[in-house]
Symmetry: C2
C-alpha cells in the first residue's frame, strides 16, 4: 500500500518550479533507458545553469517566508523598472494580499488606495508583447492550443507568431503579472498578481507579465481563498500582509537566497523536456509523447558561492 501511495508519483512532475537537488544517479550513463529528469539534472554541467540576477530578482517577504520572483526585463522593461522603483521606495511594504481566487490568481496591492506612488510612473505603456527579433526563443516541439508556437525565452515560458513577428510571455502557474484598468496603458506595477491554478492563457497578450515565482509558490497557493466576488477578501482582517518587497541586490549578501536556474537554450534542457514528454519509468504505460509549455518544469537549485560566477 505504501507502493500505491508513493509509486503513483515517484516519477511524476514535481512542482512546476521545483527546488531540485543534485541527485545521486547517472552511474550507468551507458544504460539503454532514456534519461529521466533526475538523470538529466545529475548529468548537467555548471554551464547549464545560470544564477538569478540580483538586479532582476525580487524577494517578497511574507509572514510565512520568502517568495522569490525572477523578473523579465526583456519583455516588460518599463514595468520591471517601475516595480523596482516602487520596491526601493518601500511602496509595497505593509500592503497585503487582497485577493485569492481559487484556480486563478493571488493578487496584492494597495486595497485602501491611499499610498502615494512617489517617483514611480502612474501609467506604463502596455508591454504585452515584444518583437521576436529582440528576444531569445527556444521552441518546444509540440503544438499549442493558444499560440502558433510555444517555448522558452530565458527562464520564462513564451509564445511567438512568426507571421506578426511578435513574442510574448504566457500565463503559466507561477507567472507574475501587472493589473490594469480597461485602458491598456493604465497599469503601473503597483498591483501584481500570480497565477495559482490552471494556466489562464486567455490573459496572454492582454496583460504585462513581469516575471515568475521561482521559489515559495506554496506560500501563495495555500492562502485562504477570498469569499467576496472574484476572490477579494470581504474583511480587511482576512488579508495576508506583505512585510516587504526588496530587490535582491539591495539585500545584504548574507541574507540573499543564492538560487540558480537551468538554462533553457541548451542541449541539456532539450533532454529534460524530452524526459518529460515521454515518461519512461515503470509506472507509465502510455507516455504522452508531447508536453504543454506550462507543464515543463524549470529546475531551480541553490548554488555555492564559487558557483555564482559561471
Amino acid at each position: 500500500m505504501l507502493n500505491r501511495a508513493t509509486s503513483l508519483c515517484r516519477r511524476l512532475l514535481p512542482a512546476l518550479v521545483a527546488l531540485v537537488p543534485a541527485l545521486a544517479v547517472g552511474q550507468n550513463a551507458v544504460a539503454r533507458k532514456p534519461p529521466t529528469m533526475a538523470d538529466v539534472i545529475a548529468a548537467s554541467k555548471p554551464t547549464d545553469w545560470v544564477p538569478l540576477d540580483p538586479q532582476n530578482t525580487l524577494y517578497v517577504e511574507m509572514p510565512a517566508g520568502r517568495v522569490i520572483i525572477a523578473l523579465a526585463p526583456q519583455f516588460a522593461p518599463q514595468y520591471v523598472a517601475n516595480v523596482k522603483v516602487l520596491a526601493r521606495a518601500h511602496y509595497y511594504d505593509g500592503l497585503a494580499i487582497e485577493r485569492v481566487q481559487d484556480n486563478f490568481v493571488a493578487q496584492w496591492g494597495d486595497a485602501d488606495h491611499a499610498k502615494p506612488l512617489g517617483t514611480a510612473e502612474r501609467s506604463v505603456h502596455a508591454e504585452f508583447m515584444a518583437a521576436l527579433k529582440d528576444v531569445s526563443f527556444t521552441p518546444l516541439p509540440d503544438t499549442d492550443t493558444y499560440a502558433p508556437a510555444v517555448g522558452f525565452s530565458g527562464s520564462f515560458p513564451a509564445a511567438r507568431d512568426p507571421k506578426t513577428g511578435q513574442a510574448w510571455l504566457v500565463h503559466c502557474y507561477g507567472m507574475v503579472g501587472a493589473g490594469r484598468d480597461n485602458d491598456v496603458d493604465s497599469g503601473n506595477g503597483s498591483e501584481l498578481y500570480v497565477v495559482i491554478g490552471q494556466a489562464p492563457r486567455q490573459l496572454d497578450r492582454n496583460a504585462a507579465l513581469i516575471g515568475r515565482v521561482v521559489q515559495g509558490m506554496q506560500l501563495l497557493a495555500t492562502l485562504p481563498r477570498g469569499t467576496g466576488a472574484l476572490g477579494f477578501y470581504e474583511r480587511p482582517a482576512d488579508r495576508t500582509p506583505i512585510k516587504s518587497v526588496r530587490v535582491a541586490a539591495d539585500v545584504p549578501q548574507a541574507e540573499r537566497t543564492p538560487l540558480e536556474v537551468m538554462r533553457t537554450d541548451t542541449h541539456t534542457f532539450a533532454e529534460l523536456v524530452e524526459s518529460r514528454r515521454n515518461r519512461r519509468d515503470d509506472w507509465y504505460k502510455v507516455p504522452a509523447g508531447r508536453i504543454d509549455v506550462c507543464n515543463v518544469p524549470l529546475p531551480v537549485r541553490e548554488h555555492s558561492a564559487q558557483g555564482a560566477g559561471h
Copy 2:
C-alpha cells in the same frame, strides 16, 4: 485603483468549477454584444441543468467543510462501485490527507496501511479508457496538445481518438483519480488523488479518473504542502483528517447539498464555451479565440427542491 484591482478580473474566469448564482442580467437580450458567461447562465432554461445523482455523488467531510465529488461510472464503473463499497463500509472515515504536492495533487488514503478493505475488491481492472461508442462526447472546436480531440462527456472533460475508437477522461484541475502500483490493475480506490494545479495531462490514460470535485476545491487546494518527497507529510500530525466519506444517497435529505450542474450537450453550453473562447468585455483587447478543455468552467449551482425532478 479599485478599478485596477477589480477590473483585471471582473470578467475573468471564476474557479474552474464555480458555484455560479443566477445573475441578474439579460434584460437586453437584443443587444449586439455577444453574450458573456453570466448572460448565458442567466438565459439558461431548467432543462440546461441536471441535478447530481445522489447514487454517484460523494461527500468528503473535512474539518473545514464538505468536498463534493461527482462520480463517473460511465468511465470507471468498477472503480466507482468499489469506492462506494469502501465509503459504505466507512473505510475512509478517520483516514487523512497524507500528501499535498504543490501544483500537482492532494491525496488521501491509509498512510499506515492498517485498515482492512472488507468486502471491497483488492484490485480493479484498469479503467483508463472507454469505448467511444459507449460514452457521450461533445467536442470542443479547438486543438489540444495531448489528444486528437477534446470535449465533454457528461459533466467531465474528456478526450477521444477516432482512430482507436477510445475515449478517456482528462486530468484537469479538480479531477479525482485512483492511485495504483506499477501494475495497471493494482489500484482499488482506497487511495484517491485530486488535481490541484496545472493539468498533469501526462497522467491521462495512465490512471483511472473516477470523478471530479464540483464543490469545495478550495478546501483541498489550500492544504499545507507536505515537505517530504513528493509532498508527503513528514509527520503524521501534519496530516489533515478525513472525518467521513459518504455516498450522498445515504445521507438524510436535509443534510444533502442540492447541486445541479450545467449539461454539456446543449446549445446553451456551446454558447458558454464560445463566451469563454472569446472574452468580449471591455477589459480584453485580444480575445484568445480558442480554449483549453481544462479552462472551460462547469457551472454548478444549488437547485430548489421542486427543480430536482427535471
